[in-house]
């Protein structure tokens, strides 16, 4: 036997035993509480176990817009503190990625002082983009924009995780993909519509006072202008875009600091808007859902109708008390994600910090469900940004189960075919090849358990390719050994030379494929990556098993060189 054979053989035996232990929980589907010391199983992809896969994109343009408006207001307040009077100018969103907002100074003589103060205070978040006469226009600072993006992404992931935790899904996966996408995977979720609603809803709660002074007549005139301008809501577009467009058109007509918002009712089955009621509300807001302490479902005993009770944090409660005290007689719109839920008239100063969101009339169970989900999202917090569903894949549990069953049966027959063929063609040596291939598949599965890779259908295809390459590796060696035997070498010499000469062919063939695999891992998405992961793992195990494992077994077979014939 060659030098070091025992060492290599021991390594192989240890590796096989270790691998068998590692894959035992997966193969026998052990429960968590089994006595077996190892617990980790291979993660199954959603295509195999069923569930919901989503890619959500973040609409940063809206975030920029909100931020620039918010900072313009703050800047105005700062100027007031140093005695510079100013009013809010207009928003210039012609470049949606870089919106700008202007501040109009009352006196041009204040300009240098105002600029200096704002530079001192808002050097980082704002950058001066235009500076003419009494107008100072600001856009967001470059670094600040990037910071907004990063914060929005991580906060969104956190909020989604909170919501999913409350929703109760085992082993959810929420990760970022690039700078503006979030991938959410929820295995085993059945109620897709509800899950999507819970995750995708921004849940931005705002309290804004309604301006009723303008009157119904003015409102009708404005909406008439909108109609004449040809702006209408088309099915399939985002409603918020429609509202934004309306406000853009009416920017000079509406009283300064106010905008139009709607109360919208949509039919669940036909998906059409059944009722649309316009409100003139404040453009900014003094109180948002961030001040919420608690949101719980309560039932109105008189009407037997569920509603969501809101409790403010102490600071929010104080703001709420002051606001209501100062605006008695006005209507306060409760706006969720841009939609006016209700607008009760403030009868008196409200102390104690509680409010409520009443829901539309309808089926009790449906309303109850709506109230529960609403309370859940409000508790879990609002998303800092609006998310857009870019991609969604739902696999029903039975489709995945069926796919596994069939793939298992087919894999079994496929393996059987390989074994029969190899043994028939290479006789005793064929067994060695089969043993090497078996170790190969075992090592692939073990590696997947150890690195926590996910096995999906394309992943199975990757393993199939691995088996093919492993078969090939052995065939290359065997054909080589046969050639050397024909050339008159002794079995011992033929095996040695065969392995030696075949090694580079195997290594080169596998390395080239590995390169392709790396490209896939780098540029591919979803299924392509799943394929690449198993392929790359498979290439390593293939080189090891077809060369080293087969060799160790062959050396055992040919012994010390006294064998006269070889069953190959």
């Amino acid at each position: 036997m060659a030098r070091g054979w025992w060492i290599r053989f021991s390594i192989l035996v240890a590796l096989v035993i270790g691998s068998l232990m590692t894959v035992t929980p997966t193969l026998f589907n052990l429960k968590e509480d089994s006595k077996f010391p190892l617990k980790t199983k291979i993660n199954l992809g959603l295509d195999l176990q069923g569930g919901l896969y989503m890619v959500l994109g973040i609409d940063f343009n809206k975030v920029y817009r909100d931020e620039v408006i918010g900072y313009a207001r703050k800047a105005q307040a700062t100027l007031r503190d140093i005695g510079v009077e100013s009013s809010l100018g207009t928003l210039d969103a012609s470049d949606a990625r870089d919106p700008k907002h202007s501040i109009i100074l009352a006196k041009e003589s204040d300009r240098e002082a105002a600029k200096a103060k704002l530079r001192e205070f808002y050097n980082y978040p704002l950058r001066l983009t235009k500076d003419t006469g009494t107008t100072l226009q600001y856009g967001l600072g470059r670094d600040f924009s990037r910071e907004i993006e990063e914060t929005a992404l991580s906060k969104s992931i956190e909020v989604i995780r909170n919501r999913i935790d409350e929703f109760g899904v085992t082993e959810p996966e929420i990760v970022s993909q690039g700078a503006s996408r979030i991938v959410v995977q929820l295995p085993g979720v059945k109620d897709i519509a509800r899950a999507k609603d819970l995750i995708g809803r921004t849940a931005k709660l705002e309290f804004k006072f309604v301006n009723d002074e303008a009157g119904q007549g003015a409102m009708n005139d404005w909406l008439e202008k909108v109609r004449k301008a040809g702006i209408e809501y088309k099915k399939g577009e985002r409603f918020s875009d429609y509202v934004t467009e309306i406000n853009k058109l009416l920017v000079d007509d509406l009283p300064k600091g106010f905008e139009i918002a709607f109360s919208k009712t949509v039919s669940k089955t036909t998906n059409e808007i059944t009722n649309l009621e316009p409100y003139l509300v404040e453009a900014g807001t003094s109180l948002t859902g961030e001040e919420l302490q608690e949101a719980i479902v309560r039932i109105d005993p008189q009407q037997n109708r569920p509603y969501v009770g809101l409790e403010f944090k102490p600071a929010g409660a104080k703001i709420f008390e002051e606001l209501t005290g100062a605006n008695i007689g006005k209507r306060l719109a409760i706006i969720l994600d841009g939609n006016v839920y209700s607008a009760p008239v403030i009868q008196s100063k409200i102390a104690g910090g509680s409010a409520q969101i009443t829901l539309g009339a309808g089926d009790y169970n449906a309303t109850m469900m709506e109230a529960r989900d609403l309370a859940l999202v409000l508790r879990a917090g609002a998303l800092p940004v609006e998310l857009v569903f870019e991609e969604q894949r739902v696999v029903g549990p039975s489709l995945g189960a069926d796919a596994i069953d069939r793939a298992q049966v087919a894999s079994f027959f496929g393996s059987l075919l390989v074994i029969i063929f190899m043994v028939a063609y290479y006789k005793l040596s064929g067994f060695i090849a089969c043993a090497a291939i078996f170790v190969n598949v075992l090592l692939v599965m073990t590696s997947m358990v150890l690195v926590g890779a996910t096995l999906s259908l394309p992943g199975i295809a990757g393993i199939a390719l691995t088996v093919g390459m492993a078969v090939d590796g052995n065939i290359i060696i065997y054909e080589r050994i046969r050639e050397e035997l024909r050339a008159g070498m002794s079995p011992f010499e033929a095996v040695r030379t065969g392995f030696e000469k075949a090694f580079w062919a195997i290594l080169d063939a596998n390395l080239t494929t590995a390169l392709a695999g790396l490209c896939l891992l780098n540029f591919g998405t979803g299924p392509v990556r799943g394929f690449a992961v198993t392929l790359l793992i498979g290439i390593f195990t293939t080189v090891y098993t077809s060369y080293f494992v087969s060799k160790v077994l062959f050396e055992m077979y040919v012994g010390k060189g006294d064998r006269k014939t070889l069953s190959i």
Binding site: A193, L399, F421, L465, N522, G524, P527
Partner: protein, 298 residues
Amino acid sequence: MSTTRNTDFVGMFKLAGLLSFVLVVGTIVMYFTKGLNYGVDFRGGVEIQVKFNKSVDLGDLRNLMSEKKVALSQLQSIGDASQNEFLLKLESDKGDLNAVSSQVGSVLAEKYGEGSYEILKNDIVGPKAGAELRMSAFKAIAWAILAIMIYLALRFDYKFAPGAIAALIHDVTIIIGAFIITQKEFSLQIVAALLAIIGYSVNDTVVIYDRVREIEAAHPELPTIQVVNRAINETMSRTIITSATVLGVSVVMLIWGGSVIHDFFFALTIGIILGVYSTIFIAIPMTAVYEKLISKKA
């Protein structure tokens, strides 16, 4: 297997090249005339697969959807009628994908009741995501081929690279041609299959290149054409056995693997056959042909 086999593969290159050229050009023509049936992955849109556990008529379902104003562009049954399985589709530019998807759910629940059907699949790919997936798939394939080319040039010799790359592009193109002819859906899964085929095909090629290299080293006096022919002939038994085994497994998966992986193995089966053909008749002989061209110029 006999060792005396000595077929002139390089001599057959003209014929094989013509055949392949016709197939590749045919595919390109069909791509622009008949077009590839892009799946929801690449085109963007909604695809919902639903299975009822009671008998449902396709016509009734169609009427229900139009009555409720569900904007679908396609509604068809899958398999035979007794399976009660249907596929509902909508292209991305024809409406709000998410709204339609949830609308289908509520319409079905209202009409047939929860529990009388199962949504087997509900895929939504936004137009932006579709375009990006298409781009990333294309990039993955292009980079894979490029990386292989560089590796071959470094590891072997620059003269090996053009043949291998021509063979890979040839394989990928003709499989796409098969998908155009059958109008089977071209999805991300098929891209994975194409990549697997690239892997197989280049594997075949490299094994023979290795032999070419070895013969060249042992007999530097032999002309390349002879070396190449000898390498193909000497490795022929390995080529046949490996391909037969792998093809066998692929066919088994194709027949018994179930509908989910059917198209994948359809592509793989064709690809394995093409891979062997392109290795023997295109990639390797081209090495000799390429060298002849270079020496003529020089």
